[in-house]
């Protein structure tokens, strides 16, 4: 129990019940402290509170100023000091308006001068409005009504027109009475002379020895704390990253702006494929093109397209600059880099996580920027069965049981998709696609080993963890959400 509550209970133990007035006069506590103690004890049924309607006059900031001096009073003082003021100088002031309404000033040939009434006002200084405001601010509940009815129209002017005060009524505390629970509480806690706040002196000098500590109200509400943290999407990415790192993968990075050559052509995607239309992909107008420096790769890719897809293959289309549409393009860059390196330890395992872009009309379930994860394993003697093991292992670490089914992607053969059963949707949901990279592609990139590859969107995994239903919810930055969101792991 808190010190204030102990004092209040001790007082009530003696007196049984008491009015708020009595308590105020008897205990050496401030009004706020007493009210807090009463509410806190009432909540625990230690006391019973009898309430009564209370009326209070609350002054606005302007009203508080007016207690000292109204603007019109200040205004006529200024006029008196100078003798007269030009109308242009003062016509828009509140002081001017009310001085004129009160008949304290006259306007004479474009100048303001004091009237007789004004001079009288200056000399005796008794302003009715100020006296009314003063009376209201000091009045208690019983008096307010009679003051208001006596003032009539004047009170309305000050509150409604001039917004100097407001009358507020509320349920105030009239009296309190001890309950049985309160009796028990107070008897178990009769020693109120214990240590309150633990200070440096008390600790250092050992003054606490042999003393009691006053118990606090440990049920009292606390100050809200918001621990600063990562954005949930990055927190989630870090967790996915950790899984791949634990499985022995090297983390890779690649450019966001790339050529259609790398994003599509190298990956065996035909040039007339629908995803290569402006409707789906963000092509750039600055820079418009990205040169393909590797002439040998260029001619190999040209040959592979001509053989498989069509007799024409356009270098101009391949050079178009774009925002990558998948992170598989990062895996393709690594394949080429690996082909040029000697004495590497195989199997080589590389993953990457990054943003990809789709030209979408934005709504709650379509965004133009999304995150994907991608991976490759390069080595000899590895095939579809090893890819299935790797992916099952990855999703098992996320607690997901999955099924593997055949699927088609132009750059793999055989291809697969990983699905998991979503109990809420009562349906199988695709998690990622993958397969063994075609010889045409590894051949062009100079790799003589098998390459297992896969890629998938992060959102689906995050939906599962964050209990979020739409994409736009996931990528929001509202500080309220960032501050209060729950842990996902």
């Amino acid at each position: 129990m808190h010190e204030y509550e102990i004092k209040l209970l001790a007082y009530l133990r003696e007196h049984g019940n008491a009015t708020l007035e009595d308590i105020r006069n008897s205990l050496s506590l401030g009004n706020d402290q007493i009210v807090w103690a009463i509410e806190s004890l009432a909540e625990r049924n230690a006391i019973r509170v009898e309430r009564t309607k209370q009326v209070e006059c609350i002054l606005s900031d302007e009203g508080k100023e007016c207690l000292k001096e109204f603007p019109e009073e200040r205004f006529i003082k200024a006029v008196a000091k100078k003798g007269r003021l030009s109308v242009k100088e003062c016509s828009d002031g509140i002081g001017f308006i009310w001085a004129k309404k009160n008949g304290w000033i006259l306007i004479d040939d474009g100048f303001v001068v004091l009237s007789e009434k004004g001079n009288e006002m200056l000399s005796n200084g008794n302003y009715g409005y100020r006296e009314l405001l003063n009376a209201l601010s000091n009045a208690n509940t019983a008096d307010i009504d009679s003051i208001l009815s006596k003032a009539g129209q004047d009170a309305d002017t000050l509150s409604k027109k001039r917004k100097l005060f407001e009358i507020k009524s509320y349920n105030g505390i009239k009296s309190v009475a001890m309950t049985d629970i309160g009796m028990k509480l107070s008897s178990s806690d009769s020693n109120i002379d214990g240590i309150s706040t633990l200070t440096r002196d008390i600790i250092a000098n050992g003054w606490w020895k042999g003393k009691m500590f006053r118990p606090y109200n440990v049920d009292a509400p606390s100050v809200k704390v918001y621990p600063a943290r990562l954005h949930p999407v990055h927190e989630f990415i870090n967790n996915i990253r950790d899984i791949w790192l634990r499985m022995g993968f090297i983390e890779g990075t690649g450019p966001i702006i790339d050529s259609a050559f790398w994003d599509f052509d190298v990956l065996f995607s035909p040039q007339d494929h629908p995803t290569r239309e402006m409707q789906d992909t963000f092509f750039l107008s600055n820079p418009k093109d990205i040169d393909i420096d590797d002439i040998e790769l260029l001619s190999k890719v040209r040959r592979m397209h001509k053989k498989a897809w069509s007799r024409t293959w356009s270098e101009k289309l391949a050079k178009q600059a774009l925002l990558r549409t998948h992170t598989t393009v990062v895996s393709a860059h690594y394949m080429q880099k690996l082909a040029g390196m000697k004495n590497m330890q195989y199997p080589m395992k590389i993953f990457s996580i990054g943003k990809v872009f789709r030209n979408e009309s934005l709504d709650y379930k379509h965004l133009a920027e999304l995150y994907q994860y991608d991976g490759i394993i390069v080595g000899e003697g590895i095939g579809l069965s090893h890819l299935i093991y790797t992916l099952k292992e990855f999703y098992a670490q996320l607690g997901m049981k999955v099924r593997i089914k055949p699927a088609y992607f132009p750059f793999v053969e055989p291809g697969l998709e990983v699905h998991y059963f979503d109990k809420k949707l009562n349906d199988w949901i695709e998690l990622c696609g993958g397969g063994v990279i075609r010889d045409e592609i590894t051949g062009a990139l100079g790799i003589k080993k098998n390459v297992l590859a896969w890629g998938g969107g992060l959102d689906r995994l995050m939906f599962n963890k964050l209990e979020i239903k739409t994409l736009s919810e996931l990528y929001r930055n509202e500080i309220d959400w960032l501050r209060s969101r729950k842990n996902m792991w």
Partner: protein
């Protein structure tokens, strides 16, 4: 990986149940690599991958199901043995418009029940997907008995006929502009974005049969009662037309009809089309096993192959696979490997671990990001992530910064109006965030570590930057200077401060950050005009630092 464009087909449960149990059918749809989009008591809708146009047809789909389910031996597809009955003359005028055509006759077809609907869907879906919305190829279906004499494939700037399901004659030029099909498929005849000047069409001795590839004539409309059909396939890709002719021919033969050649005349050249071609592909069993990572007994191979509709023979240690005419997706041995895996069943392939002592290595970039994030969180900043796509107003104007249009990475076309460039600076993103949360409790402290983009000497340059903002009634210069010094000190960056004239900040209340002679950042009190622009009502202090200029990607292998 990018998901491919899928076509969906709808089959009726009653038709399926005539061939196979419904649950078994559903399992086999998945086993074949297709997806079930939806199903109810009456029908099932299936996603067909774009490599298998032969499965867009009910006959073709059930053929694949029966092979994998029963392992029945593949049949041989043959055209009717008589000489071609019809001739089709191709004029010079179609050359620059839509040069290629194949055609054939079907006799004794049965289009009763749902069969007519299946055939029309098949035709439409192939035109839309494989035919690239009829530009590459499109298929026309006609009632053979309504065709008089021989045919001609020609092109003209203007002609009139009565389109399908219409009661009025219309001119080609009106159809292309006003008819729903004309509007939908005008692109198929357009040349480099310009509207077509000549329209290809098909006619017999008396009348126009079709405005190709837009719409057929009402005169040769097919119905459930039609027994004999004339089918044309036109387009710009000769091989694709040949492939699709093969798919349709096999489908009609499987349904019990007879297919007859049509003689196509190109000037003096004549050719009977279609040709049904079987391809023979040699397969090295060891390569197959390596690709799949499993063991298969040699003796099991013929059965696995026939369950995917292939014929096969074994001679001198080598398998030769016979690919039927409808399997147009098979480019080489690798495509057959996938089918062998499907015949085994992906579920039946035993997962195998890869043994390796290699350990994981995080990238330098993410390690740096983690370190700085820890420092920022330690200073009570929340992380925010924003889009890279933005516009000039947010990135420059609202910040009072001058835009150099040549230095922005610019996108050509966006469906979302708010996107025109990639962000060149990071701070505007965080100002946006503060703007969106203006009504929330202060203080608000945010940071972001992310990519920024610019164009230098015609090349795109990607860099990584850090931005921080702190908004509250007492935010001032000394506060942000404290954050910046703490950061740079803990990161062990040798730095000095210099004057800054960045108009986003109040003059005399901001500093530039230098390492050596290079300016890497700026910090200070945000200018009240900038605060007004973002509709903020409390003071904001901010810092912006480029952490990695011109990212060096593809790390981690050295």
């Amino acid at each position: 990986m990018v998901d491919d464009i899928l076509a969906t087909v709808k089959f009726y449960n009653d038709d399926i149940k005539k061939h196979i149990g419904y649950d078994r059918f559903k399992d086999l749809v998945i086993a074949l690599g297709m997806d079930i989009e939806s199903s109810d008591d009456a029908s099932i809708t299936i996603d067909i991958t774009p490599n298998r146009p032969d499965l867009l047809d009910f006959v073709g789909f059930m053929r694949a199901i029966k092979f994998i389910d029963e392992g029945e031996k593949p049949r041989e597809y043959l055209l009717a043995s008589s000489a071609p009955i019809k001739k089709l003359k191709v004029t010079e005028r179609v050359k620059g418009v839509r040069p290629f055509i194949e055609a054939f006759e079907v006799r004794g077809a049965d289009l009763s029940g749902n069969r007519l609907q299946y055939l029309i869907n098949f035709t439409e879906k192939i035109g839309d997907t494989y035919g690239r919305r009829r530009k590459k190829l499109a298929i026309g279906l006609h009632d053979m008995d309504a065709i008089k004499g021989n045919l001609e494939y020609d092109a003209t700037a203007s002609a009139r006929f009565m389109p399908l399901d219409s009661e009025l004659e219309q001119d080609f030029n009106d159809i292309i502009k006003k008819h729903p099909k004309g509007i939908e498929y005008a692109h198929a005849l357009a040349k480099k974005g310009n509207a077509a000047k000549a329209y290809p069409f098909l006619k017999d001795q008396e009348k126009i049969l079709a405005m190709v590839p837009i719409i057929n004539s009402n005169a040769t409309k097919i119905t459930e009662k039609t027994k004999n059909l004339f089918i044309d396939i036109t387009g710009t890709d000769e091989k694709a037309i040949h492939d699709v002719a093969g798919i349709f021919t096999c489908s009609f033969i499987d349904s019990g009809a007879k297919v007859f050649n049509v003689d196509i005349e190109y000037g003096k050249k004549k050719a009977a089309k279609p040709l049904l071609q079987y391809r023979h592909i040699a397969i090295n069993l060891n390569k197959v096993l390596a690709r799949l990572g499993i063991a298969i007994a040699k003796n099991d191979m013929p059965q696995l192959l026939s369950r995917m509709g292939y014929g096969s023979s074994y001679e001198n240690g080598k398998f030769t696979v016979v690919v039927p005419p409808y399997r147009v997706d098979v480019l080489n041995w690798q495509d057959v490997v996938e089918d062998i895996a499907i015949a085994i069943g992906y579920d039946a392939i035993e997962p195998k671990p890869i043994y390796s002592m290699a350990h994981g290595i995080p990238s330098l970039f993410t390690s740096l990001k983690d370190n700085i994030s820890n420092l920022m969180i330690g200073m009570d900043f929340f992380e925010s992530i924003n889009t890279y796509l933005t516009n000039e107003t947010n990135d420059f104007e609202k910040m009072q910064r001058k835009l150099d249009a040549n230095s922005s990475v610019r996108i050509e076309y966006s469906k979302t109006e708010a996107y025109s460039i990639l962000r060149q600076r990071l701070l505007p993103s965080l100002m946006q965030d503060l703007s969106a949360s203006a009504h929330e409790k202060m203080p608000q402290k945010l940071f972001e570590i992310g990519s920024i983009f610019k164009v230098e000497h015609g090349n795109a340059v990607e860099s990584t930057a850090l931005a921080i903002v702190s908004e509250h009634s007492k935010a001032n210069f000394a506060e942000v200077k404290g954050y910046v010094e703490a950061l740079l000190d803990r990161m062990q960056i040798e730095y000095s401060f210099c004057d800054s004239d960045d108009p986003a900040f109040i003059a005399g209340r901001c500093l530039g950050i230098m390492t050596g002679k290079r300016i890497i950042g700026v910090f200070g009190e945000m200018h009240p005009q900038v605060l007004n622009n973002f509709k903020l009502e409390e003071p904001v202090v901010a810092a912006e630092i480029t952490l990695l200029e011109d990212m060096k990607y593809l790390e981690g292998l050295e």
